[in-house]
């Protein structure tokens, strides 16, 4: 619509214009956030909206199921005088291990210390202490969060704000076990794997030591695999440039993962079973020096307490209580032989 002005308006506009010119030029330009900030916030807003919509749909489904269950209950009550339980909204991740000072900011704005056994909900923001860390079961996968890390938990993804996350899907991949780690520099997902994602102030590093991962950003899509002896690593700089390299399957990048292990109980298991687990935990492949050794490992049964122990403790326990011993090998192999009687 064209704004029609009278001559009187024009005179007052001239006066006003002079005043406004002074005000506005003195105040200067409005500060603006960087393009990167805008992009990141917009991405975050879109993703949160999508989660909120998915959550709303889920609530409706639960409500609909509740109504259906209630209707069914009326029928059942006629026969059994007992109504079925209505479905209850559940958390999306179960914390199995916590150490160091960790907190969680709930979606409702509450902050609390995180304890083992806690169930996390959509939108919970986890912050681990400098020497903290936690392990949780999320979408069927084992997810471990390193120290000084901030992660927001959503139904279909983990948003890594800063720090480091390890994901072990146990080699499986399905719609239910897809674990996507989203960062401001791109997202990482997998094809059945063990992988780590680390977001620093100026770069993203992701490494895979079993299976494959896919990295996606606005400019790039890369697929990265581990092989028998090395891990694949991808580095993404702040400007979005990507480099790939091969790295050892164990080492500093992975060491912290062992400290947040869910552990394994020895009782009733064969040495082979627990050694396979311990080897995977440390990114190594289990090999036996010969068939005889393999047979001893498979046929034996371990005894002890039901306490869950870490992979280094597993190795010590097996070595102390069986004829098996560990032989020198490359860093990607856990080589097991038999001790002479």
């Amino acid at each position: 619509m064209i704004d029609r002005e009278t001559p009187r308006d024009r005179v007052s506009d001239v006066e006003e214009e002079r005043r406004l010119a002074g005000i506005l030029s003195q105040a200067g330009s409005r500060t603006a956030p960087s393009e990167a900030q805008l992009e990141r916030w917009a991405g975050h807003f879109r993703a949160t909206l999508a989660d909120a919509r998915a959550e709303k749909r889920r609530r409706w489904q639960i409500r609909a199921a509740g109504i259906a269950a209630s209707v069914s209950a009326v029928a059942v009550v006629l026969f059994m005088m007992q109504a079925p339980d209505l479905p209850v909204a559940a958390g999306i991740a179960d914390v199995y291990l916590v150490f160091g000072g960790n907190t969680v900011d709930g979606a409702q704005g509450t902050q609390r210390s995180l304890v083992s056994g806690e169930r996390l909900n959509v939108g919970d923001r986890l912050r681990t202490g400098l020497r903290g860390g936690l392990g949780m079961k999320y979408r069927g996968a084992d997810v471990r969060i390193g120290g000084d890390t901030e992660v927001i938990v959503y139904t279909t993804r983990l948003e890594l704000v800063s720090g480091v996350v390890y994901v072990d899907t146990g080699g499986s991949r399905s719609a239910q076990t897809d674990v996507v780690v989203v960062t401001r520099l791109g997202l990482v997902t997998h094809l059945g794997t063990q992988y780590v994602v680390q977001l620093d102030s100026d770069r993203l590093v992701s490494a895979v030591r079993e299976g494959q991962i896919i990295f996606r950003s606005e400019q790039e899509k890369r697929q990265l695999s581990a092989d028998a002896s090395t891990a694949g690593e991808i580095r993404v700089a702040e400007d979005g440039s990507v480099t790939e390299s091969r790295k050892p399957r164990s080492g500093e990048q992975w060491d912290w993962v062992v400290e947040i292990s869910p552990g394994i109980s020895l009782t009733g298991r064969s040495p082979d079973e627990v050694l396979t687990w311990a080897a995977r935990e440390s990114g190594r492949t289990l090999k036996y020096a010969d068939e005889k050794t393999a047979a001893v490992a498979r046929e034996g049964r371990l005894a002890g307490t039901d306490a869950k122990i870490s992979s280094p403790e597993v190795l010590s326990a097996v070595e102390a209580s069986t004829r098996l011993r560990f032989l020198p090998a490359d860093s990607g192999t856990l080589l097991v032989g038999l001790r002479d009687l």
Binding site: D3, D13, E16, R19, L20, F45, L49, R53
Partner: protein, 219 residues
């Protein structure tokens, strides 16, 4: 600007905001982009002018967006969307500053006027909140806050004309409008800005050293 027209503009803005919020809730990507383009810079400036560092503002904007995305369906369109977002932002700023103070990360704010005023602002009851307290930065923040309350095309045209010194023709080229439309836009922008400025009790009548009229700082 006649009060009636101002009221109509306000109602139009609210109706537009209501439609935008509904489309955003439906996941309409164009609406989400429009929302982000218009409101993210404004939220940032709102937070930045009240917090000590860019990082603080960045954190707060992110939290505000989380809350806004989750609560968008509670926006009833009774007031402008920007005001609704600012309300969330105020709460988050208050929480952020409170948390920072508890963890000892806000240091010597007594010697830092901007932070001190931000703390005072954040903890003041909503009815007592001045949009700024004192000083050159606060004056600029006030002017920018007034610009942010205008429709973005008004604010952009005013800024290009009076801050960046572009001619109407250049603005017309940049905004892909006819020259006459830009003149009209500027006239409407000036009126709307003036009204906001008056409502915020700005002084407009003082003169600068050259004898030209210049704004009096916010008291």
């Amino acid at each position: 600007m006649p009060a009636e027209q101002s009221d109509q503009d306000g109602q139009l803005q609210i109706a537009r905001d209501r439609r935008l919020a509904r489309r955003v809730l439906r996941g309409d990507q164009r609406a989400i982009k429009a929302f982000c383009d218009e409101y993210l810079p404004k939220l940032y400036r709102f937070a930045r002018s009240r917090l000590p560092t860019d990082q603080d503002a960045d954190d707060v904007v992110q939290v505000v967006l989380t809350n806004a995305a989750r609560r968008m369906e509670t926006y009833r369109g009774e007031a402008p969307l920007l005001g609704w977002l600012y309300q969330i932002c105020r709460r988050e700023i208050s929480k952020h500053l409170g948390a920072a103070a508890r963890h000892g990360t806000v240091v010597s704010f007594q010697q830092d006027a901007a932070t001190e005023s931000a703390v005072a602002f954040a903890t003041a009851p909503a009815a007592d909140e001045p949009e700024a307290v004192s000083g050159t930065d606060q004056f600029a923040a006030q002017v920018h806050a007034a610009l942010d309350q205008l429709p973005e095309n008004y604010a952009r045209a005013l800024e290009m004309k009076y801050v960046d010194g572009y001619s109407s023709k250049e603005i017309a080229q940049s905004m892909k409008l006819a020259d006459a439309a830009v003149q009209s836009l500027l006239a409407r922008g000036r009126r709307a800005f003036r009204q906001l400025y008056d409502a915020a009790d700005f002084g407009l009548e003082t003169k600068d050293g050259d004898g030209k009229e210049a704004p009096r700082r916010y008291r």
